[in-house]
Symmetry: C2
Subunit: 175 residues, 2 copies
Amino acid sequence: MSPSEADSALPAGGGAFLLTQLGTHAAQAFAERIAELDLTPPQAGLLRAVAFGPGRSQQALAQQLGTAPTRLVALVDGLEQRGLLERRRNPGDRRLHAVHLSVAGEAVMADIGRVSRDHNDAVLSALDPAEREQLRALLARVATDRGLTPGVHPGYRTLSAADPGSPSREDRATY
Amino acid sequence: MSPSEADSALPAGGGAFLLTQLGTHAAQAFAERIAELDLTPPQAGLLRAVAFGPGRSQQALAQQLGTAPTRLVALVDGLEQRGLLERRRNPGDRRLHAVHLSVAGEAVMADIGRVSRDHNDAVLSALDPAEREQLRALLARVATDRGLTPGVHPGYRTLSAADPGSPSREDRATY
DNA sequence: TATTGTTATACTCTATAACTATA
DNA sequence: TATAGTTATAGAGTATAACAATA
């Protein structure tokens, strides 16, 4: 079989492939930007979660972030050592650690907000405001249809690799 | 600072976040579909690359796929043991292994093409053909603007995690 | 006994470096 | 000596399971 027979339709040219490609790119670009704050994306996500709902237990945070409680320990450890998070004992139930932002942590949160907005603008710089809204609306419909709760993404946890491999330049001709 | 101040704009609601979210979802969905053929996405990508350009060396394939030559060895090993790929010695330069699809490999390639098309249809099922094309056009412009060669994606290799963490349902209100 | 948090262990994936065989 | 392929080693990241403290 010839290559053009093998995948005549659009494996690497279809919308699903573009979504995979751009999703990867967006995640990488965000990781690079957030690295300027000496943060990883998971760390930024944890800070954001704590900022939104201060004083929650690590169990609650783990459930919200969709990660194992054991993973949260190391994350909180690192951010606590850097003085961005605080563990506070709960007098009512001393098993719980209420996680709060420190003052420094709140300052970093403001930085994260700026970085996120810059990131969004950079990724979508090719589109004007109307087009961005158009794209947003289409993506939101796909996300809803696919059962993705807006604001909650899978988290790249069980991800092994990519879409239809990495076809590359040469393949474009046929795809 | 209150959460709504911290990220007033759109960190988890903007187009960039949606791209990350849907990109992850599309990659996972493809991985699940291709697993029905007992393949991983990297394996499918390698088969596709070989199908498009048969007889190339592992070095050439590694460069095209954007991966280290050492990683390709194990990939080719597995697919050769399953009888889908063949290593053929090059009489001219016996250091090279020309990689070819076997007959069984060509049959699997046809399956991959079907799976890829089904995957694309499923992911975009919320949109009618005109809307799919609209989305495709917008994504293609963003991809070009960001310097991504169509058909070649990063490959989820250096990916550490996700966009702005995993904000989750509760955050939607503010985001 | 159940639950929160922690620690220890193992497993997967990938990257780096050393080795061989050919040239 | 330089290159293609291979093997071996190690590193990052994550998941699983056992453990200690508290309820």
